[in-house]
Symmetry: D2
Subunit: 165 residues, 4 copies
């Protein structure tokens, strides 16, 4: 069961530019992270864009939806900035119902030592294998349905919009 990973940027892949003293994107760290996790799941990685999710455009989201539709894999992980992750999840959830799609990200860049990225990647890879078709956000060890999740701007954590009973 091969898994498709689409990279879109976000905190996951931010780096520190030591000349400018600022944060920027270079290449994705996904292959390095999978190697560190000794991951033996068959994955195909494709970088679609490298953007801060606050700067993601409608065209960017259309591209993500299109790629998810067209790729032959039925299980897909999307690495994504957390600020608008719920927006992309909704765009996907309204249009794609026959694949398992997991969006994940990080609060701390992977290159900054004490990142949550490796934990989230491990969770995302597991959930994408075990959950039924649907679009989910995976953060903080939990999974959320695309139509019942928001990021709490104060705590930085994801939560249900309403409790499901």
């Amino acid at each position: 069961m091969a898994i498709r990973i689409f990279v879109t940027g976000g905190t996951f892949d931010k780096e520190y530019n030591e000349i400018e003293g600022s944060l920027y994107f270079k290449d994705t760290h996904l292959p390095e992270m999978l190697a560190l996790g000794r991951c033996k799941v068959s994955v195909e990685i494709l970088t679609l864009m490298m953007v801060d999710s606050l700067e993601m455009s409608e065209a960017d989201r259309d591209l993500i939806v299109e790629q998810c539709k067209n790729t032959k894999e039925e299980r897909i992980i999307i690495t994504h900035g957390t600020d608008t992750m719920e927006v992309t999840a909704r765009a996907l959830g309204q249009l794609i119902r026959d694949k398992t799609i997991v969006l994940t990200g990080a609060m701390i860049p992977y290159k900054f030592g004490s990142s949550d990225g490796l934990f989230n990647l491990g969770s995302a890879l597991a959930f994408v294998q075990a959950l039924p078709a649907g679009v989910y956000i995976v953060m903080n060890g939990r999974y959320f349905h695309w139509n019942n999740v928001r990021k709490n701007r104060k705590t930085g954590e994801f939560e249900e919009m309403r409790r499901e009973d």
Copy 2:
């Protein structure tokens, strides 16, 4: 849905004794790892033992089985040395059928910087939430049924004993 975590030792929790220049166990790093992963899943952690799994006795395994039976949680993670993880999985699998139990571990100690532990913990927490009742080993981003897994001693990776078709 609270998750029970039983700690038994293994490479996960090994530390470096700088006076002796040797490896040893002190306390578990599970709470620190869950904090790093910003984990918001409700978990209860209990340390059952702190041993290298090559030194795990029959009595140790009996204790693990007993604890899994008696704990009220129906989803359980066991951190365990990789060398005899499959033995403990079999002991559990033959006796417990109504809970989801995931054994996981690490090839590199968490304290040694470039560990696979955080990735495995993320995977284990996700699989234990999403898989049906049964006993599983979760390593390398994958899950294995207790009755069809062995550690490859040369590569250090887990693999199926026979391919399931």
Copy 3:
């Protein structure tokens, strides 16, 4: 021989704000870094300010000079942003001649895992003990006299303004 350490901020002490996704200052990491280095030199640490050195004012520099003059220790380390480290070194070098003062910093924040900060701190502590009275910049394993040093903006490295023969 006690050593005085004055903290002024700079990349050394920058942290990542995971809610804002930006860099900021909180507390100095000097005590943590000295503990990691198992440093047994007697030091007194005082935070004078926490600023990016591009935003350091004349009044800030006057304060640094004043503090160096007035402290009873004759050997002083100043942690400082690298962008204007040479300016502060000149302000000190023109006015203080009877103490050994070492300015040091980092290109990568200490909290970002692969920082040069611990190496620079080790160098600074050694040079401040072994060099005669004077004002120096210590970076890249080297020491430079206050009146013959500049930061190369392209490489991020410090170099002599003229070769000393």
Copy 4:
């Protein structure tokens, strides 16, 4: 002023064998550590041996003395296990008086994340440039003369055998 670095092993360069679960030597991490420190001092690195200093023989020490005598550089760093560092320092101190030789090491392996190695290497590089001819041990941010130092086996720290007044 080029500096010679002789590598002899010790905790500095120990690695974790994930198949065996034990500590071992592979290659020295000195070049990687110097790169991390953005070191711009001209150095020549030569690995003489890769041993735990408890297993260092008389022949090993003779080789170290010989190499220090014969190398053309007048400033030399030796990375060395801490357990018998003082023995090698004495062997060198009794025979070589016209070069500045610094022995240094680490209590925690460099590869284990929270090592004192980078701090010690920064100190050693600074002291070897700034101290007069003589043989020294550099640990814990301090330097010790070869004929007045011992490792405290309980604390793991180096200390003077008698206070120098």
